[in-house]
Symmetry: C2
Subunit: 250 residues, 2 copies
């Protein structure tokens, strides 16, 4: 690997994960991440390891879920789960349900989805606190002898104004999710006043390039980013949340 | 490079670019991209090669620009340029001016910015049609003997709900900006109904990881994505625009 280069390798061979599995140890066995590397894991494998799967036939939709589901042409049981996982409904129109999750993320269906969960009639919820998950997995990797790579937990979110989903960080440990250039200078010595790079989200997006939705590859390991990896766990992906008072699109 | 890996290398050594420069030839000399690779270029170097710089002391703000600038505490000459480059003002409050550009992108300040333009009192506008720019640069690279790598033109955009900017595609040629999984199946054979990956944006974000705002690195070359590179130029980044009728956040 030449200076300045980044290499992204798929994290393959982990297999199905169940509640309580030591995900850090599994990551270590499959991908052997080293100090200074960044491990990006899909939300789904983390949710599985944390028992965040729900059987739809055990969900009893309430009145609000039934009303919303009818209006949006959605499964009322999924809408019930979305509402239970959410603090606020942001938009509910044209078949789209966007909420702010209890964890503070604004996304469609509270991040609940049914693909690649391994069983019909079962859906995966987001981790309760993906920053805590990232810290735990980082510690598990270290305990399994893997040094202390950064850990980012990623989910695919839609975006206002743009089609398609891009992977973004919902949890991280060992990397600052925002690279703040405000007050620093450009190449001509001019002060940068608004430049804050959403590094956590760019890491998540980059990792997604080596995955496909049918590959069973639940993550990736990025090398060449040693200068980004911190000894401490840092502020977590919570630092990527725009405060409501600064948000013009709620 | 192992199977399934992606390597991102910085595109260094291009130096200052002026209007009319053959950017494809310069990219070829600096980075020697090959068939099956993806060249990601910052909007700024493309704008410079297309003469899209403006001197602020030649801008005469009109009444609307003066009013908005006063209200938002911005330079009225920049606001005048933003309005001239825009079709619609989306939000103008709390010091933030978000518009839909004439080219169809929704972003702050119509993508106009003053960092790394090489001279005080000069700002860079977005390319008029960055898809056309990408096609032109792709053809220039081929003419310079560099085969036919894909070309993506990237700019840093802020996002609703999330802090920080992430690089996104505003132009592309030789790669489908949306990887549409709708109707295809997950690993368990379940049909995916909503999965469309914003591949163009993920490429742009990944390339940004090898750049810093003071490095003079105007882009990156990604290897390992040969299966993504198409013979034809394809639909362009315009395919990433969410149509107003499907957009809940205007």
């Amino acid at each position: 690997m030449a200076a300045g280069e980044i290499v992204i390798r798929p994290l393959a061979g982990i297999g199905e994960v169940g509640e309580g599995d030591d995900l850090g140890r599994l990551v270590m066995q499959a991908g052997a991440p080293r100090d200074g590397e960044v491990v990006v894991l899909s939300q789904k494998i983390v949710s599985k390891s944390e028992g965040r799967l729900r059987r739809l036939d055990e969900v009893e939709p309430g009145a609000e879920a039934n009303e919303l589901a009818g209006r949006l042409d959605k499964d009322p049981r999924i809408v019930e789960l979305v509402l239970a996982e959410s603090a606020i409904v942001i938009r509910a129109e044209r078949g789209v349900l966007i909420t702010e999750t209890s964890g503070g993320w604004i996304c469609a269906n509270a991040g609940i989805d049914s693909s690649n969960v391994g069983e019909d009639g079962v859906v995966a919820l987001l981790p309760v606190d993906a920053d805590a998950s990232a810290r735990r997995i980082r510690a598990e990797i270290a305990a399994a002898g893997g040094g202390s790579p950064a850990v980012v937990i990623a989910d695919s979110f839609g975006r206002a104004w743009r089609l398609g989903q891009a992977d973004m960080a919902i949890g991280c440990a060992g990397v600052a999710p925002i690279d703040d250039w405000r007050g620093r200078h450009d190449r001509d010595g001019r002060e940068l006043r608004a430049t804050e790079i959403a590094l956590g989200d760019e890491l998540a997006a980059a990792a997604d390039l080596v995955r496909t939705k049918d590959s069973g590859v639940p993550g990736a390991i990025l090398s060449g980013l040693g200068h980004r990896v911190t000894l401490g766990d840092g502020p977590g992906a919570v630092a990527l949340r725009r405060p409501p008072t600064e948000d013009l699109f709620r």
